[in-house]
């Protein structure tokens, strides 16, 4: 019974929290409540690791979505803690008014709700609705500052996101059409577990076409090149906690939707293999983002392009398939979520303290605010893929499994990784070192979420506990070849 309760809690707690936060005035209370709601959601998600409820026709819990749900709840909680400090500063500097903050908190929980719904959905139509809801929520959040740049970013995100999501719906309809002669009319032909079980007898031609639409549609939301144009703008112009959630969680949710359909398509022998298509888009993203990283002048844009690169790596790994590559992809996804959100926490503080997002204007962070500066250095070193951090482990696994299976593809992949690596370190050097006359005081406790994430990533680089490896290996087996 606790498992059923936990599954309901994953939806009811953030959903109810969103309503409550919409009514509560006073940003201090609502920031606290926001974190409490996230903590309760994390407890529910963690319960699912221990016990699985029986799935229904609308919702289901399996090995695959448990991973995503737990990462979601964890990063959601630490981002809400970061957000509390960030918001207090925005109120002080009058960038946002109290009524906007109230709206912001409600939207934050609604985003959590819609992402959890997308992950829990056993119905591909319901999943689509949830992904669309999360898109619309983040569109509003990106535009919350109402500056010219924020409006343009939100509009661009909205237009590209809705075109993507429209393509995904068309793909979903095609999957239903393929399933309908076998599973009959109505709900069963949209239930994911039944689709998966019967995928082998569906019409291959329809599935082929469906996957192309789904790949382009949900791929837009993942931020895969060449449909990535919305991503840097949306990251740069919204509030930084939202950049952290976008990069750390929402991209994963879109990828999860894509993975579910990949499994259906891969279950049919007559269909074009979905793996190479995903690998091609992933590789294109890695290469494009690697080179684009050099010309960035805005710190949040820089890390947004780095997110495109990493989502490319993860998509590539899942496209390659097989136990090792899937394991590497999952690990990389977890590491990227933790590290990238930690980076955005740091970047959020930096841009607030320095009053700018321009890389050229940020100098000598390790002197002006040593603790924050050095933690940001560590985080960037981690995301660039250097040991001893966990991102190195997962990138290394991706590269070695590529080398074992398709040696030639290692070359472009390694080039992309190296180019991105160089760009990040080059930018980091200017920001972290050099002379500065600034001095900033930032209470150490505010850096706690960033520290916890970095500590987890550092530990994962040295030693991953056996239960977690076993768990990821099991999920990797589910993801198949």
């Amino acid at each position: 019974m606790p498992a059923e309760l936990a599954m309901a809690g994953l939806l009811a707690i953030p959903g109810g929290g969103a309503l409550l936060l919409l009514l509560l005035p006073g940003y201090r209370v609502s920031a606290l409540l926001n974190s409490l709601v996230c903590a309760a959601t994390l407890v529910c998600a963690a319960t699912l690791y221990a016990a699985r409820p029986a799935g229904g026709i609308y919702l289901a819990v399996d090995d695959l979505n448990t991973v995503f749900l737990i990462i979601n709840a964890l990063v959601g909680l630490s981002t809400s803690l970061f957000s509390a400090g960030y918001i207090a500063h925005e109120i002080e500097t009058r960038h946002l008014t109290a009524s906007y903050i109230r709206f912001y908190h409600a939207m934050y929980q609604f985003l959590m709700f819609s992402m959890n719904l997308a992950l829990l959905a056993n119905n591909i139509g319901l999943m689509w609705v949830a992904v669309e809801a999360s898109t619309l929520t983040t569109v509003v959040m990106v535009g919350i500052y109402r500056s010219a740049a924020a409006l343009e970013a939100a509009w661009k995100y909205f237009i590209l996101g809705s075109v993507g999501i429209a393509l995904a719906l068309f793909g979903t309809i095609l999957v239903y059409l393929a399933a309908q002669p076998v599973l009959g009319e109505g709900l069963p032909a949209m239930a994911w577990d039944r689709l998966l079980a019967n995928a082998a007898v569906f019409d291959p031609a329809l599935l082929n076409l469906a996957f192309v639409f789904l790949l382009l549609g949900y791929g837009t939301k993942v931020g895969l090149a060449p449909m990535h144009a919305w991503l840097p703008d949306a990251h740069a112009e919204g509030p930084t906690p939202i950049s952290a959630v976008l990069s750390g969680l929402l991209l994963n949710v879109a990828l999860f939707a894509l993975l579910r359909f990949k499994l259906i398509v891969a279950g049919n022998p007559g269909v074009l293999a979905p793996g190479p298509l995903m690998m091609a888009l992933g590789l294109a993203s890695v290469l494009l983002a690697g080179f684009m990283l050099y010309r960035r002048r805005d710190i949040k844009r820089l890390f947004a392009y780095s997110s495109i690169e990493h989502m490319g790596i993860i998509t590539f790994a899942f496209g390659l398939g097989g136990p090792l590559a899937n394991f590497a992809g999952l690990l990389h996804m977890a590491m990227h979520s933790l590290t990238k959100s930690a980076i955005f926490y740091g970047v959020g503080y930096v841009s607030q303290l320095e009053g700018t997002q321009q890389i050229a204007d940020i100098r000598g962070l390790t002197r002006s605010q040593p603790l924050l500066g050095w933690m940001l250095v560590a985080a960037v070193v981690a995301i660039a893929g250097l040991p001893p951090f966990g991102v190195f482990t997962s990138e290394f696994l991706v590269v070695t499994s590529t080398f074992a299976r398709m040696p030639l593809l290692t070359v472009p992949l390694a080039i992309g990784l190296m180019v991105g690596f160089g760009a990040l370190l080059m930018r980091l050097q200017g920001m972290a070192f050099g002379d500065t006359t600034h001095r900033h005081e930032l209470p150490a406790w505010r850096l706690l979420p960033m520290f916890v994430h970095l500590a987890l990533v550092a530990i994962a680089g040295v030693f991953i506990p056996e239960p977690i490896t076993a768990w990821f290996r099991q999920v990797a087996a589910v993801l198949g070849g």
Binding site: L136, G143, E152, A154, W155, A166, F170, I173, Q180, R301
Partner: protein
């Protein structure tokens, strides 16, 4: 069921494609909105007809939503917005109308070439409907690409959604979840758009997206 029933279904779905073409060449704001209302009405008829021949009463709800919401309320609201913003004179398009129309014809041919062989196994009614629906989706996308004005981009997006509704109703017995959700998401989408249009107005005194292009973060 065959013969005249199919023909009428195809006639209605085909008309939707035709109205999509009409949307492409409108160069006046109010005319564009009127044609969009016609688009929604044709969609309502097509969906209503599907409900009749599939004997699926829940589709009448979808048809009703399409008619009332997209055929009456939204065009009316957009009329008011356009009037208040004073942008009713003309719609700027990227590239010439002729070129856009040619491109549109190419897209329709493409969707027919793609859909007909693929859906050979599906019932013939779903089959042609899907080809038409994909055409409407692609034409909606084309319209979003070729228009600079925020209001006409929104109209393009909604005509695209109409194509999706047509596809969903053509798929026999597709659960109501999706229809309601499409209507619902359009509602939310419209709310979002409404907020945006007014915010854009506050900042720029124009809804020409070219004015927004100046404020890209990277170009300094």
């Amino acid at each position: 069921m065959s013969g005249i029933w199919f023909d009428i279904a195809h006639l209605l779905a085909g008309s939707l494609v035709l109205v999509s073409f009409m949307l492409l060449y409108q160069d006046r704001m109010f005319a564009l909105l009127n044609v969009f209302a016609l688009h929604a009405v044709v969609l309502a008829l097509a969906v209503g007809w599907q409900a009749w021949i599939q004997d699926a009463p829940h589709l009448y709800v979808t048809a009703f939503i399409a008619f009332v919401f997209k055929g009456v309320i939204i065009p009316g609201a957009l009329h008011r917005i356009v009037q208040r913003l004073g942008i009713h004179r003309s719609v700027e398009t990227v590239g010439g109308i002729g070129l856009t129309m040619l491109f549109g014809i190419g897209l329709v041919a493409l969707s027919i070439v793609i859909m007909l062989p693929v859906t050979a196994v599906a019932s013939s009614i779903g089959r042609e409907d899907l080809a038409f629906a994909l055409s409407v989706v692609l034409l909606g996308m084309l319209m979003m690409v070729t228009r600079r004005n925020a209001v006409s981009q929104v109209v393009g997006f909604m005509s695209l959604e109409n194509g999706l509704v047509l596809a969903a109703t053509g798929a026999r017995g597709m659960p109501l979840v999706v229809e309601i959700s499409v209507g619902f998401s359009i509602l939310i989408a419209f709310l979002v758009i409404g907020i945006f249009l007014f915010r854009i107005r506050e900042r720029f005194d124009t809804v020409d997206l070219q004015a927004l292009d100046m404020s890209r973060g990277e170009q300094q």
